[in-house]
Amino acid sequence: MGGPTDVAVVNAALWHRFSKDRFGISGLLIIVIFAILSLCVWFGILGQGWAQTSGSYWASASMEHWFGTNRLGQDILDRTLVGAATALEVGFSVTLFSILLGVVLGAISGWRSHSWLDEIILWAMGVLDSIPFYLFAAALAFAMRGQYFAMHLAMILTFWTTTARIIRAEVMRLKQREFVEAARAIGLPGMTIVFRHILPNTVHILLVQATIIFVVAIKTEVILSFLGLGVSNGVSWGLMLAESSQEVLTGHFGNFLAASLSLFALLMGFNLLTDALQDAFDNRGKIV
């Protein structure tokens, strides 16, 4: 039990279950819409006028500017769309790399648990966990002289630890199982066993983790940009919120509403997805 074919069967059943969850599907739908919008931005179809200033400052919603304009007369809708693209880009890259890093290090650590390699990796996790995140992000932003990817790096270097711990625990748990013993008996090298046999059983956990990290990454980017440690050249919802924090008190809500509502929508989408995935996976015990 637990070999490749069984995994496929379980996964198929999971998707069936998932597709019945209305909240989950709507969450997925929201994400897909944002993804399409972002692709349009990246391919130059939408949101291209975000940097263009004009003479109509603080204009309210009109035919020309669907969401109105900001202090510089820039179109808020365009900026919101580019902000979405930024959010997805940040979320995606941070999630991808922190999961990758977490999986690799967690697997090594779990497979060779209690060895000195494991101790070193655990030590690294401890060190990274005990440095307060915003200090770390600020420090990296400085050390990298304000490079755009300093923010991504700061997040990746701190987010991988949760995934690593989970994978480590899973690997340690699963390596006691019969199918692993069998694989060892055949003489398969350790890493092959880990990556081809053990890890596929963790895909469900990883998927859930990915959605969680995505949410945290986007939220963190918002706060980092607000503090001035994140996106600097370009637009992001964090920057729009930073602008708006001064503006709302003089009655200009355009920036604030656009950024916070779109942020809310995207995050809701992901959180609903996370929930649905967790529900589907929690109940997998009931299938087999």
């Binding site: 440095i131 420090a139 400085f142 706060i223 924090s245 916070s260 809310f264 995050l267």
Partner: protein, 311 residues
């Protein structure tokens, strides 16, 4: 336990080395903050020398370690105040700021978690879960901005101060801490509720609990005497491990937005200006705190559940 303590040493070394490299070595050069308007090249070298930038990496790092051990970080390079004094006056403020929100957020989360775990699948469960998801999808920033407008300005209720911290008794403390506490609770409630619910559900689904339910044992006795006690381990782990961060970085946004003179704000200013003595102190403190938390949690584990010894 001595093993854990020994484990703390390489951890501290690691933390200090990484932070030292990033913040102190690669970090902002405070020289230019401290120069006047028309500096000469000679003046620049003088200031750099007095800030210690011209010494080698190893020398500076060893000096730093000495400071950690003696807990004496000297004077802030920005204002001249002794770092120990700065910490003495800011740490209590940060604690007084964060604790109510932290405690309330966890208590409420625990409460909701228990309720929804007990009535799992019911309408209460669904409502609380939806509210949690909504709560988790709103940025801390948005909450702070909205609360400030709604509660502290003439555009809203105008019942609380916009910023400041002039606390000398319970009344004034409540006056200044209410809005930040509310913000903190709103932001963490969603996460807390879900976490506690998950932990409770795990316990409740156990056979002996189900049996007890069927036999009509009261919810209180079951929840408190069995479920809660057995869930103590994960709950405590989570609470304990969030302490160091809650104290230092959790308060950063609140402090800068509400103008509260706590550790987070001081640290952030130190980061942006490159005030090394303050930075070194804060980083070392969180490292030490983390190690302490680890130790305390371990002791607690052993006290609560001797079975933990085996793993």
């Amino acid at each position: 336990m001595t093993r854990r303590l020994l484990y703390g040493i390489p951890l501290m070394l690691g933390v200090t080395l990484v932070s030292f490299m990033l913040m102190v070595y690669f970090g902002p050069d405070q020289t230019y903050e401290l120069l006047g308007k028309n500096p000469t090249a000679q003046q620049i070298t003088e200031v750099r020398h007095s800030l210690g930038y011209d010494r080698s990496f190893v020398v500076r790092y060893v000096g730093y370690l000495k400071e950690v051990v003696t807990l004496n970080f000297g004077l802030s390079a920005s204002s001249g105040e002794s770092v120990t004094d700065i910490l003495k006056r800011t740490l209590p403020v940060s604690l007084a700021l964060i604790l109510p929100g932290f405690v309330l957020g966890n208590l409420l989360g625990l409460g909701f978690g228990m309720l929804t775990a007990w009535y799992r699948g019911g309408w209460l469960d669904k409502w609380v879960m939806t509210a949690s998801v909504v709560g988790m999808s709103v940025s801390f920033l948005v909450i702070i901005i909205v609360l400030q407008v709604l509660l502290c300005t003439p555009y809203g209720l105008n019942m609380f101060p916009v910023r400041g911290w002039q606390v000398h008794d319970i009344g004034s403390w409540l006056y200044y801490v209410s809005v930040p506490t509310l913000a903190l609770v709103l932001v963490t409630l969603g996460y807390n509720t879900r976490f506690y619910r998950a932990v409770m559900v795990e316990e409740i689904e156990r056979d002996h609990i189900r049996t007890a339910r069927i036999y009509g044992a009261s919810p209180f006795s079951i929840m408190f005497r069995h479920v809660l006690k057995n869930s103590l381990v994960p709950i405590l782990t989570r609470v304990m491990y969030s302490i160091p961060f809650v104290v230092v970085s959790g308060s950063l946004l609140l402090e800068s937005y509400f103008g509260i003179p706590g550790v987070g704000l001081v640290t952030f200013n130190a980061i942006t200006s490159g005030d090394q003595p303050v930075l070194k102190a804060v980083v070392s403190l969180t490292g030490i705190l983390f190690v302490l938390v680890m130790l305390v949690t371990d002791i607690f584990y052993k006290w609560v559940d001797p079975r933990m010894l085996r793993s």
